[in-house]
């Protein structure tokens, strides 16, 4: 396993790493580690850990105007992907040795060929993730992961043993448990920590070896518990549901408007941490089940239930449960424009929560700090309404 000493601890460490994104990955790269960039939460990060590589979840930059990507990418597509590619064109990801892209949605699929062609990473691999959850889908996904495993082994120049993979599963499960512990610190009212602190920690973790991330999480949880206080009681407790939020500005906006963000189901938030990989005799089986079935992104089709009510429960019931557990009194549905799967779910999601008694604010955003002003008025009005 990649063992490195952690120099940054607690919330100060988080702050430093959040402000200097990619810094730790650069340091490790300079020390000879292979750093592999990936999109979304469907890439089994355990594989990289088992081969002592560093998985780096690729982020965009809401504060950085898109200036280079326009020459390669259409404007009618996911602005997060455009932003991430823009950063790549500006050499902000020059520390990446490779790129792994899962087929999560149409746009992510397309960026694979484009990134590969114009950035020419030393290693690249595309994983087809079934949209369906039929029995044959699991078998297919297992085969896809075997192909990925073989390809990554070739790049690493050594085999990934089942023993190393099992150990990686254990470490990442520990990581997931720690993230859930961190999230639980917002259950009390007032919460012990803010949505901003949580997001900074989550973003920071996207570029750390799992051992370091686990150590950092322990130090952050300890510090928050010991310091007491926190963001203080506010009139509203908010849950955010959506895809990518990898900058604090929007969360900050909500928390400056009289609410505490106490829970999320975001692709960059808890989405990838709800469920552990179950230990299985063949560690790959647990990985297949967890990555295919236990990540509730709208890009996965959940087979139709006998009634619409049950169907919606299948798709959104887990979010409702956490909204109830965390005693939220308002839900923000945050959708990045041109994200077809979320946009097609939005009316269902909204009416589902409204029927359950939760006010919902549906925001379609351009993934740009420049558009925050437009959102501010709506967020403030919403919080005033529910407070």
């Amino acid at each position: 396993m990649m063992t490195t000493e952690l120099k940054r601890t607690g919330l100060a460490g988080v702050e430093e790493l959040y402000q200097r994104r990619g810094q730790r990955a650069r340091e490790l790269s300079e020390q000879g580690a292979k750093v592999i960039g990936y999109f979304c939460c469907y890439v089994p990060v355990e594989f990289f850990t088992a081969l002592e590589m560093l998985p780096y979840r690729i982020q965009g930059g809401v504060n950085e105007p898109i200036t280079e990507a326009d020459a390669y990418l259409e404007t009618i597509m996911c602005p997060f992907i455009r932003s991430a590619f823009d950063l790549a064109l500006k050499n902000r990801y020059d520390f990446l040795d490779g790129l792994v892209v899962p087929h999560t949605c149409d746009t992510v699929q397309r960026i694979y060929d484009i990134w590969k062609y114009y950035r020419k990473p030393a290693y690249s691999h595309f994983i087809n993730v079934p949209h369906m959850l039929q029995p044959s889908s699991y078998e297919f996904f297992k085969q896809e992961l075997l192909t990925f495993r073989k390809s990554l082994e070739e790049f690493a120049g050594r085999k990934m043993t089942d023993e190393a993979l099992t150990k990686a599963v254990r470490l990442h499960n520990e990581n997931r448990a720690l993230v859930r512990q961190l999230y639980d610190l917002r259950k009390p009212d007032p919460p012990l920590t803010s949505g901003v602190e949580i997001l900074k920690t989550m973003v920071t973790g996207m570029g750390l070896p799992v051992l370091e991330y686990n150590e950092l999480l322990r130090s952050v949880i300890r510090e928050i518990r010991e310091r007491g206080g926190g963001p203080g009681k506010k009139p509203a407790r908010i849950l955010i549901y959506g895809s990518v939020i990898d900058d604090i500005s929007f969360i900050q906006l909500i928390e400056d408007s009289g609410a505490n963000v106490v829970m999320d189901d975001l692709s960059t938030g808890l989405r990838g941490f709800w469920h552990d990989v179950e230990p299985t005799p063949d560690p790959l089986d647990g990985i297949v089940n967890r990555y295919l079935d236990k990540i509730y992104c709208p890009r996965t089709y959940r087979p139709q239930a006998e009634t619409q009510e049950k169907d919606l429960d299948n798709r959104f019931g887990y979010v409702y449960k956490s909204a109830a557990d965390f005693q939220v009194n308002g839900v923000i549905l945050y959708v990045i424009r041109f994200c077809d799967t979320y946009e097609l779910d939005a009316p269902d999601f909204k009416s589902y929560f409204q029927k359950k008694g939760f006010p919902v604010l549906y925001l379609e955003d351009d993934y740009s700090a420049g558009t925050l002003g437009q959102l501010k008025t709506r967020v403030q009005a919403f919080i005033e309404m529910i407070a």
């Binding site: 259409e74 597509m77 590969k116 595309f126 087809n128 044959s136 085969q143 139709q304 799967t341 097609l344």
Partner: protein
Amino acid sequence: MAFLKGSGDVEENNLSREVLVMSEKPAEKTTSTKATETVKKVRAIVRGLYQNAREAKEKGQFTAYTMTACQYEEILNAMDIVPVWTENYAGLTAAKRDAERFVLKAEAEGYSNVICGYVRVGLGFDALRKEMGKTPENAPDGGMVMPDLLLGCGSACDPRFKWYQALGRYMNVPTYSFDVIWPPVDADLDEVRNYYIRYQREQLQGLVDFLERQTKKKLSHDRLWEAISRSNATWRKWWEVDQLRKAIPSPMPTEDHYNAMVPGFYCCGTQLAVDFYEELYNEVKQRVDNNIGVVPEEKYRLLFGGGLPPWHTMWIFNYFETLGAVFVMENAYRIYDPVEVPSHVKDPLDYLAWRTFLRWTQRYDMAKKRSGIATVERLLEYIEDYRIDGVVTHATKSCRATTVGQIDWLHRLNEYTNIPSMQLISDIIDVRDYSEAQWKAQIDAFVEAVEAHKRRTAR
């Protein structure tokens, strides 16, 4: 821009082509004028699709909402399930400039205005039907029948399974979605072929199991083979028509293709489709033999390089023709060429799985050696075979699947050819995203660039 009102109808293609080319377009006309006589029969075929579905429903036959290229056409045919092609219906409403009420209804229901135009029409149609308790008033071609089944798939784009899931708001109809999946270009096909085909076969088997449960009828493999045989004959003859289109002058333009595609996609597996392409082949052959072109003087040969066509304004192809530019070939609703499934494949579902894999991995070998993208290879092939002078793509605001990557394709094309290219922007359905003045200015400038390029290369 507000919705433009018009009374365009795809039947309005009986106007004298020369009159249209020589004069200004009629103020209200939005559909294209066709060159071949055979494709003028398509309008009646389309009307028949919706009429047949209504009659089938009355007789107690199963009807299903369906999508193109899900690879299940022959299965439906063999099981007497009458398809209602929802994407086609959306295109029809756009061609008739009657999409507005459906699109606005979907948006009023909370669906974003950047969601696929086809989907917005479909959701709006069904939302209105639910609200009114009947088919929306004067719906084009009598409207889509209330289906007994919804059959989505993951082929080509995400909305193709999300749309029918969303329809749960408006109807309680048994729904089945399945994967149609293919490997990336850089995959080692020898390594992945077996498990991709196995998965495709199992996905199709899952569909068959679902249909058998719903209809309480068993799929006859003999009937499935018969449907496959007819559909292969259809696609083979269609491909032969397109080989004829290499002729100079072009005997059949792209606007004709967008009518001619109807039997291939929406009547696949039927004798009607086989007969249609036979007739089209004979007509196009006759035009080639007699040097009959699309316009009196064909100056420039263009390739419609991708993106779905602007169904709301198909006459734009005729506008190019007024400048002497003819679209002689296209890369949309032209998904695959005929493929040879190995003879050892004896089971019809195995055959469909194999065929799917082979269709989607066409040109992978070339792409690996050259551009890295199978679509770019297809375009390069067409540019050479069809003697293309310029490439035009259509970026459609609401379609990620056919739009994202177009700029990249054009970049890569530039590495291997120096012919001019242009990207037009609007939508498949939503005319609010279309600016006629802007398009005309862009087209005029592009045709000048094509002319300049031809002059330069002729020296």
